[in-house]
Symmetry: C2
Subunit: 259 residues, 2 copies
DNA sequence: CCAGTATTTATCCAACGGGTTAATTTCCTC
DNA sequence: GAGGAAATTAACCCGTTGGATAAATACTGG
């Protein structure tokens, strides 16, 4: 049933017909069956593994599918990375590395405190939108009670710069009078992540429950506006226009949509 | 390796030694090997399945383990419920039924709007704390892109009463002047769920990242206070004392804990 | 151009795991 | 108390799957 034909194909076929030089040199006999490319192979394996683990979880992931989608022989996985769990941990570490790296690129120091918070929410939201596999991987890892993460000194040493960024921004905001209250930066960090993460990670079930597509453009825009308004209203004490659709105006039917 | 010895034991052993009546009646020969109990059996199967799916996800769950933990023969699962996916869907539907039932028991109509919101957050938080399997099941279902939920007319007809509750509470709050702004009840519902869900569902990885136990009593209390303060501050415009530890006071070391 | 090493392919397999078949036992009812 | 349906057990089936082995092929340094 499962067609893994690609596993039987060499990863990079050099088409003999195109090998003009070889023909010119009258050494056409030798047709290379594959090229060496250890770095590229490793990258393709990790990318395929990321997709597979994100789509099916750790237990549901299939080593054969990873190999097939990486255009590699299954043996390559074990040669270049290790067994299934090693592969999974490598993917997880890569995912953390990537977000940490992008986080570092965000410069909030020179912005107004409220603007800085908005940028923070905007970044988090869009990063999650752009990297849905990251959400899935985190859920998978939490299902495993962070068993793998605990063993990874690599990830544990990768601190998010956001907590410190938030700390200074909130301090500045309180001093400037933009913010009314001092908030624990860790709690605020978790809350912002939560508002974005839950909506996107659970969009499938929520969409069924509410009977509408929460991932379509308008819904996403509405959500982002709501989150920014919620957090900024709490911090500044001033309410913005975009807090969410008014309760009174009956944009949607009074009860849930009939399904 | 995997010791499934319990599967070979009858689910309810009547100890012959204790069967005094049978001995008295001189019919001691007949020793019952098991009792009939279809309803009880079905319940034990579903409970064991819930734990198994919550702990390992759909793909990681093992039918043999479910049977063993239910004190049942594997064949019983198929006899009483169906195959693995049927079993999973039954568990999922049961989980939604349970939370919807408890939600209906929450009466917010007669409370002050701010107090009603606090009760709502408090309930959501404690329900998730008391039912960690529910969180895991939702994550599993979202990994499957809500494939099973979509087929369940049962769940789709179980509307949460919370959205309507929030709508009326917010309306009342705006009229009474307690709340400054009208919020979309669906967005607020999702936000409250998000603040609670993410923290608990991701507590394993977050605890590793931050190098401290986010599930211990003090951390949980701090989190609940923060969430209530955040949402109420946004709605009422007034800040409460419990918004979170002040930024200035150095309760924890300036950087992350060394691990 | 040759030897040795790095990389890739082609098979193989033993354990696992979901599901099934058939026989056995209990309990209800007439 | 006998007959039969319902509930339960025991044993088996067979495709899947992670992983291993060994052979083949490409590259590199001498």
């Amino acid at each position: 049933m499962n067609n893994l034909h690609s596993q039987t194909l060499p990863c990079v076929l050099q088409l003999a017909l195109c090998d003009y030089r070889a023909i010119d040199l009258a050494k056409a006999k030798r047709v290379q069956k594959w090229q060496r490319d250890p770095e590229g192979m490793r990258l393709r394996i990790l990318e395929a593994a990321k997709q597979e683990f994100a789509a099916h979880g750790l237990a549901g992931a299939r080593v054969d599918r990873i190999a097939a989608n990486a255009g590699a022989n299954k043996r390559m996985l074990y040669y270049h990375v290790g067994n299934k769990e090693d592969l999974y941990l490598a993917v997880l570490e890569g995912a953390y590395e990537k977000i940490r790296s992008e986080e570092r690129g965000l410069d909030l120091e020179h912005l107004d405190p409220p603007e800085a918070i908005e940028r923070l929410i905007d970044f988090t939201w869009n990063y999650f939108l752009r990297n849905p596999e990251f959400l899935a991987l985190l859920n998978t890892e939490n299902l495993a009670k962070a068993r793998h993460l605990k063993r990874s000194t690599k990830v544990k040493s990768m601190h998010s710069p956001f907590v410190e960024m938030i700390r200074t921004v909130v301090t500045r905001g309180v001093e400037s009078g933009d913010f009314r209250v001092a908030v624990d930066p860790v709690q605020l960090y978790i809350s912002i992540a939560a508002l974005c993460f839950f909506y996107l990670s659970n969009s499938a079930t929520l969409s069924v429950i509410f009977g509408r597509d929460l991932l379509k453009k308008e819904a996403r825009d509405e959500r982002l506006a709501h989150m920014v308004a919620l957090v900024l209203a709490a911090l500044t004490g001033k309410s913005t226009a975009d807090f969410g659709k008014a309760v009174g105006q009956d944009v949607r039917p009074p009860a849930h949509q009939p399904v």
